[in-house]
């Protein structure tokens, strides 16, 4: 199967996503420049991490106006699996494809370190191979990952099971000390109502090989491959 990795000016984890999808899990991947609209027949889309447009003004704010985002939106509307890692999450929020917004980390500092993330739901194409409650050790690397949404939105996300990942201890407890940035309800990742668009601040694509300190994140990419093989709604991106 084929991944489309969207490259915005200032994206910098595009290579990481490419390496993880191709060299590590043996699939195909295409880099799609943000001015293009042709997704080249991709089966799944990754919005990678980085600093699109420098993250100037607000993280993800300018990227949502890129031509490629219309294709991403159409692909998602047709049920195709889309994932955002870190900056990709911020872009999906700004684009309104996911609900909420990011504030500065409560420490006011950029943080890069391994954290523990509990997988809440496996009923998305990106978490299908996870056990609910499974704890992954994967890195974060961001300055604005403090997830916020209005109380009624949070309630709805919780009620619908749209909270997919939460910061937790190694034992899976969602304590405040395990929350690296102040996110409400320890939220590390969410999905849309249809559940095909998933995003998280941590970087599973950086945790796909033991040599890099953890291979826990690989299950996210493996899941979407399995889900597409199982024939859950397949959309050919164009």
């Amino acid at each position: 199967m084929k991944f489309a990795i969207v490259v915005f000016p200032g994206s910098n984890c595009d290579h990481d996503a490419y390496h993880a999808t191709t060299a590590v899990i043996g699939q195909q991947a295409e880099m799609i420049w943000h001015k293009e609209t042709d997704l080249r027949g991709a089966d799944a889309i990754i919005l990678p991490g980085g600093f699109a447009h420098g993250d100037y003004l607000r993280t993800g704010a300018i990227a949502r106006f890129s031509p490629v985002m219309q294709s991403v939106q159409a692909f998602a509307d047709a049920g195709g699996p889309v994932v955002g890692f870190c900056n990709g999450f911020q872009i999906l929020l700004e684009a309104g494809m996911l609900e909420g917004a990011m504030l500065r980390n409560r420490s006011l500092q950029y943080r890069c370190e391994h954290v523990h993330v509990r997988v809440e739901r496996n009923d998305t194409p990106w978490t299908g191979l996870c056990q609910p409650g499974q704890v992954m050790r994967i890195p974060i690397a961001h300055g604005e990952g403090n997830y916020y949404a209005a109380p009624e939105v949070i309630d709805r996300l919780e009620k619908n099971g749209q909270v997919i990942f939460r910061y937790a201890t190694a034992d899976g407890e969602t304590t405040d000390a395990a929350n690296p940035n102040g996110s409400l309800h320890n939220i590390a990742g969410i999905c849309n109502e249809r559940r095909n668009v998933v995003a998280l601040m941590p970087h599973p694509e950086r945790a796909c090989e033991a040599a890099l300190g953890s291979a826990d994140g690989k299950v996210v990419l493996d899941s979407v491959v399995a889900s597409l093989r199982a024939g859950v709604p397949v959309v050919a991106g164009r």
Partner: protein, 754 residues
């Protein structure tokens, strides 16, 4: 037009230098030309005080692809690839505006690397600050660290390591030395040469503003009260622009339409045009009105001297312009033709067609003044080299001393710093910051590169030659401990005012020491940087020659770091504890003294270590390795237990073999010497019990004393000396002290924020 003394002074030019300009030109310069000479002949650009010394460094070797003289050095790492690396200082700007000063320093060194056609894959930073409890220092630390992160994180190059050292002498003159490492295909390496008469000269990147005018001359003038006045507009970094330039330039370099390229750093357009022309023996004729400018009314003088960031100068093959322009357009960058390569060897500057400056390129570069400055051994050095016995009392308990050392900011964990850096982007980081010598893999070849920066300014103060040799030895040893063979050296010489003979002596001695060590180890120096006039109101910083060593691992899957891997492993100590405390962290932290004779360098044994360790690691005979440095053997042993989920150790040490140090009871080698002595090389190794004998035998055969000293396990760091109890700490208390010392000080309420 002749210039008065005040004008010359403002340009940092001495009267005899002015005379030299007139001779070189055969006439009086105009003001624009004077400005160009002033920046190019500044210490920063011309190396006029240090060049005679730098020439003595070994720069050749079978692996050298590019030695000093280009934008960065390069060494062959096999498979048609080269490691391209260089270190650069941004000390003065980082004091004036810590965030932007440090950020633009990082931006500058990254440009030097990709200018060579290399993809940057790692950053390191060597930092020096005043005492961390001082509120002003805290602001400087916070600003510099977030500036380094702000730039590196955004551009997407991992910051994988570095070093931090605290000393009073850096309080008003912090050091920020940034090192960048990149990978290039050897055949694709590009030089900063303006070849080919008639080829067009292009400008691309950020517009030119009035920022940083006279930055290069400022970087070469001592700080004083008056510098607050002449404070130039601060340069602001734009990592987004640089990311676009990086990607676009690497793409342009794939075609052969590009002839030469250079970034505009210090001395901006002046430096890039004259250096590119002089290297190729050509000239460049260009018009400042074609240069994209941010502000209106900029004069040629300002345009030529501006140090606006994120700008590149390119020479393109005639007829291939459209191809190059198209690549830049894709990134919304507009490459603009500003001039042409000429055959007359002149840098000719026009303002709307009218010639406003005309200088032979070499007059600005090769013909810059060269000084054999007088050198003199400081009169007080002999006093400094003795330890004041009276001041060594009272001696705290070994336990209190050990905890004081673990909590000393120079030794303590730098986690508060490096967790603000993205250390993992590009997914090559095998050993990240904090676990010892950082290592990145080279995906293209399955190999890996280890890299370390080191310099102990106290050692250099007390013995500049030995101290500099030790810096080379330590950096090379660090790299070897990870399993890598040292293959290249870069260096950043940070010293005080070279017009003072004592400072010049330090510099001369240090360069001698670097040369001697590099020759002994057969590692070429491929580049570096010199930062002088690091003084505030006549007080110099500790002489600080920062040494960066790059090492090559043939197998990226066999790498070790400092951490114990499990319980029940055998702990081996290699080397000899001679109990040298002079200039060390024990005397400084516990007794407030910077005194004594620093540890002696044993070049033969260091070389043996550099040869042995890569083999031990490649053969998977050892599980961890950590060399003794600041704080001595006890600190190194403790550090092997940190970040392991609390694996302890129990070891028995032989008492140090050295002479009793001054001030100690005359009848004994003291336990302080055994525990806190910083003799080198001294390396703590852990291995599976079954392999211990082989490892010891291999070391001994290589001429390195080695013996089993104990085992890993338990929750304590238990050290006995010749069977006597000496030190027992729980790993938890030691690790908490070490782990929180910097964070606690930086987050104490007075730190300031926003």
């Amino acid at each position: 037009m002749a210039f008065d003394a005040a004008t010359l002074d403002r340009h940092g030019l001495k009267p005899d230098e002015y005379d030299r300009i007139r001779v070189l030109l055969g006439r009086e310069p105009n003001l624009t030309e004077l400005g160009m000479f002033s920046v190019m002949w500044s210490e920063h650009c011309s190396y006029k005080s240090s060049r005679v010394h730098l020439k003595t460094l070994p720069t050749t070797g079978p692996r050298v692809v590019q030695g000093p003289g280009e934008n960065a050095g390069a060494v062959d790492i096999g498979d048609g690839l080269a490691a391209v690396f260089k270190i650069e200082s941004h000390n003065h700007p980082s004091f004036i505006e810590p965030y932007q000063g440090a950020a633009t320093g990082v931006g500058g060194i990254i440009r030097d690397i990709f200018t060579m056609g290399a993809r940057p894959i790692a950053l390191l930073n060597a930092l020096r600050f005043g005492p961390i409890d001082n509120p002003q220092t805290k602001r400087i630390v916070a600003g510099i660290v977030s500036g380094i992160g702000g730039y590196g994180n955004a551009i997407g190059i991992p910051t994988i390591g570095g070093e931090v050292f605290f000393d009073e002498s850096y309080a008003l003159n912090p050091l920020v030395n940034a090192l960048c490492l990149g990978i290039a295909r050897i055949d694709d390496i590009i030089k900063g040469r303006a070849e080919g008469v008639g080829n067009p000269v292009y400008y691309v990147g950020a517009k030119t503003g009035r920022d940083g005018i006279h930055g290069a001359t400022m970087a070469s003038a001592e700080f004083d009260e008056a510098s607050a006045e002449k404070r130039p507009a601060v340069q602001v970094g734009d990592p987004f622009m640089e990311k676009l330039l990086l990607e676009a330039c690497l793409e342009v370099m794939k075609s052969d339409a590009l002839v030469g390229i250079q970034d505009m750093g210090a001395a901006g357009l002046t430096c890039s045009t004259c250096e590119m022309a002089a290297r190729a023996g050509t000239g460049i004729d260009f018009d400042v009105t074609l240069v994209p400018r941010r502000e209106t009314g900029m004069t040629p003088y300002e345009t030529l001297l501006s140090e606006s960031q994120e700008r590149m100068l390119l020479v393109v093959k005639l007829g291939r312009e459209a191809e190059v322009e198209r690549v830049f357009e894709r990134y919304d960058l507009h490459a603009v033709k500003i001039g042409t390569v000429t055959g007359d060897g002149l840098v000719r500057v026009r303002d709307a067609g009218v010639v406003v400056a005309e200088i032979p390129g070499p007059a600005l570069t090769d013909e810059a003044p060269l000084y054999h400055r007088p050198m003199k051994r400081p009169a007080d050095l002999d006093t400094l080299r003795t330890v004041d016995a009276a001041a060594l009392k009272p001696r705290p308990s070994l336990r209190d001393a050990a905890l004081a050392l673990l909590g000393s900011p120079t030794i303590a964990s730098k986690r508060w710093i490096y967790r603000q850096y993205d250390s993992m982007v590009r997914t090559n980081t095998l050993v990240p910051a904090g676990y010892g010598t950082p290592v990145v893999r080279v995906k293209e070849s399955g190999k890996a590169l280890a890299i370390s920066t080191d310099a102990n300014g106290r050692f250099v103060l007390l013995d500049p030659k030995q101290g500099a040799m030790m810096a080379v030895a330590e950096a090379a040893r660090n790299v070897a401990c990870a399993g890598a063979i040292p293959i290249g050296v870069t260096n950043n010489l940070n010293f005080g005012n070279p017009e003072r003979p004592e400072i010049m002596w330090q510099l001369g001695q240090a360069v001698e020491g670097i040369g001697e060590a590099c020759r002994a180890f057969d590692i070429p120096v491929t580049g570096g940087n010199v930062s002088l006039y690091n003084e505030t109101d006549g007080r110099a910083i500790l002489p600080t020659p920062v040494i960066g060593v790059v090492g090559l691992l043939d197998d990226a899957s066999a790498v070790v770091d400092r951490r114990f891997r499990g319980e029940g492993r055998t702990v081996i100590l290699m080397g000899e504890q001679r109990g040298e405390l002079g200039g060390g962290e024990y005397l400084k932290t516990v007794h407030g003294q910077v005194r004594g004779v620093p540890p002696r360098v044993d070049l033969t044994r260091e070389l043996a270590v550099q040869q042995l360790f890569p083999a031990l690691v490649a053969e998977r005979l050892i599980e961890s390795a950590h060399d003794v440095s600041d704080g001595g053997l006890a600190v190194a042993l403790a550090e092997c237990c940190f970040d392991t989920n609390g694996i302890g150790l129990s070891v028995d040490l032989a008492a140090a073999i050295g002479d009793p140090w001054a001030g100690a009871p005359a009848d004994a080698v003291t336990d302080e010497q055994t525990l806190f002595g910083e003799s080198a090389p001294l390396i703590v190794v852990s291995t599976a019990a079954a392999q211990a004998d082989v490892v010891v035998a291999r070391a001994v055969a290589a001429g390195i004393p080695a013996r089993v000293i104990g085992r890993t396990g338990g929750s304590q760091i238990r050290i006995t000396i010749d069977g006597r109890d000496a030190l027992a700490l729980t790993v938890a208390e030691a690790e908490t002290t070490w782990g929180t010392a910097i964070e606690a000080r930086m987050t104490s309420r007075r730190a300031g924020a926003a």
